[in-house]
Symmetry: C2
Subunit: 134 residues, 2 copies
């Protein structure tokens, strides 16, 4: 039995960084694409698991960030994994609306290094005004 399996409380089994957060990688369950990366804290992770909907922790706003709370574009969580060290999460998600990024792109990872420059690659699928104007 691994240390992670042996720890009584699944939340205690994780390694929480200095400010009580753990980084979370969201991966689209169907396409395998990685649309975003954000932090969770104990409270938001617990709510994620209870509700089946991704809830991050917004460091800038210092409050839980229920993904889609403004846009309606929730992330439903299919499964949750952690790595050997228990210090990062990998979420298999289903992104409602198809775009995870506030710029209206599918993914926040829309800059690629080409030579010695970052190049903006992916198309805007939806006007941000349409996402947040609801």
């Amino acid at each position: 039995m691994s240390d992670l399996e042996a720890t009584r409380n699944w939340l205690d089994a994780l390694k929480w960084a200095d400010h009580g957060q753990i980084p979370a990688i969201a991966q689209d369950a169907a396409s395998g694409h990685v649309p975003m990366f954000a932090d969770m804290n104990r409270e938001s992770l617990d709510e994620t698991v209870d509700s089946g909907r991704a809830v991050y922790w917004s460091r800038s706003r210092q409050r839980p960030w229920r993904k889609g709370e403004e846009s309606g574009d929730e992330q439903r969580v299919h499964s949750l994994r952690t790595d050997c060290d228990g210090d990062v999460l990998l979420l298999a998600i289903d992104q409602r609306g198809g775009s995870a990024c506030h710029t209206g792109r599918e993914s926040c990872f829309f800059h690629q290094l080409q030579g010695e420059s970052w190049v903006l690659l992916d198309p805007v699928l939806r006007d941000p005004k349409d996402i947040y104007g609801k």
Copy 2:
């Protein structure tokens, strides 16, 4: 032109955390699986791009960690992306040997939450003694 595109030096365009590191998500270029997550610093990222081989920064050993330096199982880097904030990297990689994890599994994310327990799921593909006994 985005801020990332506009910054003259591509390394300066990134946001480096307190200790001069940036987290990096490795994603298999062919399967889309996410085998691991680790830190890079400026030096190791620069070497990654120059050499085409993933070089992380080992916090525990405080030195560059050339993935595969002991096992021979390098990660060849196909492409490198960053997100809107420039504070995390996404690497499309080709994992030599097929297992990224020191336990001999394809991925380090081999614990899944089931109910309120972490459950060890994925098979060991190679005996770690065979990987590190070289």
